[in-house]
């Protein structure tokens, strides 16, 4: 059976070049980067090369990159670290309703500690309005945290405009770039970003590694203590093999970005068009054009997402959904709900995220299989009566 992986926003396979370099650092160059001997120096060299590779991708300085265990830790470090470092100045934070839980739950935690958080709404395409950000700013606002591209619907936010606003008001600006790092051009200076979270396993690097870009001069309290690594901001022996892999993955992503985006956009639009043409009662979720090149998110009315995923899986297709069953709670995706999509329609959402391995044949196969699956589930659904819609 054909296997089609369409869940690249969940994670990606590690590319062979990255495996190769990691292997060197797992075996030959295994030293502790803090050691003075040649083994340590080799490891240190790998570590600093990776720092440069990552800095280059976002036009930062190498010494502004701090390695973490991944995007979640980087988000925590940025938000809690900024809040603690600035609490004498103010206790107000601005973020949006469609952030990843790594940001939302960190903000909820800060609320318990006495901080105030404004969660900005979005429009039907999941776009945040710069005007609304402006209105939400108060004298005691210390941080604006906003994602670059949404992980569920792929909508790209006006980060540059919000960055300019934050700079003008002297507010620290954090960007969760886990879904856009290596996929969209980022210039931390041009965009006035002070803090930026990135992750390796979304760009064909290993899991368990990520980083925080921390602009020189930005005050952030560390969350962990116990060593001088990462200039005391993130103590603990560095995961050198993963860091080296992340560095190379970032460099390669940068080199291939323009070409790969062009290729993926064509595949994405073919998949979206095909679905809209072949299947009735379906809607595209997210912005029609201002979206990640690899993101397709649709809702099939009258069917439920987990059922769709199970049936697709039986046909070798791997995707994800924003239904309650897959979100691990009783409610469907908070992103879809924030966009004003009803519970019923959010339950029937399907996210397909494309990547390097996908070909046009994969899209054809998907478009061949999907209509029958949707039709089968609709034939079982009490909400759908042989093409007639029940109210």
């Amino acid at each position: 059976m054909r296997k089609v992986y369409l869940d690249h926003s969940a994670t990606t396979p590690v590319r062979p070049e990255v495996v190769e370099v990691m292997n060197q650092y797992l075996t030959n160059n295994f030293g502790n980067a803090s050691s003075v001997h040649s083994f340590g120096r080799e490891a240190r060299k790998g570590l600093e090369t990776a720092r440069e590779q990552i800095a280059n991708l976002i036009k930062a300085q190498p010494e502004e990159i701090f390695f973490t265990s991944g995007g979640t830790e980087a988000d925590n470090m940025a938000i809690i670290g900024t809040a603690f470092a600035n609490q004498k100045k103010g206790k107000h934070i601005i973020t949006t309703q469609i952030e990843h839980h790594a940001v939302l739950e960190t903000c909820h935690h800060l609320e318990k500690l006495g901080f105030e958080v404004t969660y900005l709404p979005v429009d039907k395409n999941a776009l945040v309005s710069v005007e609304k950000v402006k209105e939400a700013i108060r004298d005691d606002t210390i941080l604006i945290s906003m994602m670059h591209a949404n992980n569920e619907v792929g909508t790209i936010q006006p980060v540059k405009e919000v960055g300019a606003l934050a700079k003008e008001k002297g507010i620290v600006f954090h960007v969760d770039a886990v879904q856009s790092f290596g996929k969209l051009p980022i210039d931390v200076n041009e965009m006035n970003i002070d803090l930026l979270s990135a992750s390796s396993h979304k760009i064909y690097g290993p899991k368990g590694i990520g980083c925080l870009f921390l602009r020189k001069g930005t005050k952030v309290e560390p969350l962990m203590f116990g060593g001088a690594q990462e200039r005391k901001r993130r103590p603990g022996t560095e995961n050198v093999p993963a860091i080296v892999g992340f560095g190379l993955a970032a460099e390669l992503a940068g080199k291939e970005m323009a070409q790969e985006n062009e290729r993926l956009t064509k595949l994405r639009d073919k998949l979206i068009q095909g679905i809209l043409e072949k299947i009735p009662h379906v809607q595209l979720n997210g912005h029609p054009t201002q979206r990640l090149a690899n993101n397709v998110n649709v809702s099939f009315h009258y069917v439920e997402g987990e059922s769709l995923l199970l049936m697709l899986d039986m046909k070798g297709i791997a995707a994800s959904s924003g239904s309650a069953c897959t979100s691990g709670s009783l409610d469907p995706s908070h992103v879809l709900l924030a966009m004003g999509i009803s519970h019923e329609i959010a339950h029937g959402s399907l996210r397909m995220t494309l990547g390097k391995v996908n070909t046009e044949e994969d899209i054809d196969y998907c478009l061949e299989v999907l209509p029958d699956i949707v039709a089968k589930l609709r034939s079982m659904s009490p909400l759908y009566n042989s093409g007639k819609i029940e109210n």
Binding site: E304, H343, L383
Partner: protein, 127 residues
């Protein structure tokens, strides 16, 4: 995450559809929480002669609907009323814990259908 039996009932659901001559219909759940199960029964001499279902929901919702129809087809309504949600889950070789409360409602839908049948009968005798 699902047992083979659940996947079998999900991929090849038994007794899907509607019954035109149903004398009892029961529905539980709502679209907001992502599960709706509707069960149609045709009862004759207190025996469930035919039963069909339509379900909007996850794998567990569809599999439990399918299983409950198989468990009670040909049984008396008294026997059918003794079938619990738990028994349906057990007949499927178990369900993931998170599914036990939200998607395991097929027996409730069946009981509602029987209740509806009894009400219909009462109305008929009154008329």
């Amino acid at each position: 995450m699902y047992s083979e039996k659940v996947m079998d009932h999900f991929m090849n659901p038994r007794n899907v559809g509607e019954l035109e001559n149903a004398n009892g219909i029961g529905e539980v759940g709502n679209a907001k929480c992502g599960d709706i199960m509707r069960i149609y029964i045709d009862v004759e001499d207190s025996i469930i002669k035919d039963i069909k279902f339509k379900t909007f929901g996850c794998g567990a919702a569809i599999a439990t609907s399918s299983m409950v129809t198989e468990m009670v087809k040909g049984k008396t309504i008294d026997e059918a009323l003794k079938v619990t949600n738990k028994a349906v889950a057990e007949a499927l070789g178990g369900l993931p814990p998170v599914k036990m409360h939200c998607s395991n409602l097929a027996a409730d839908a069946l009981h509602k259908a029987i209740e509806n049948y009894k009400q219909n009968m009462q109305k008929n005798t009154q008329n």
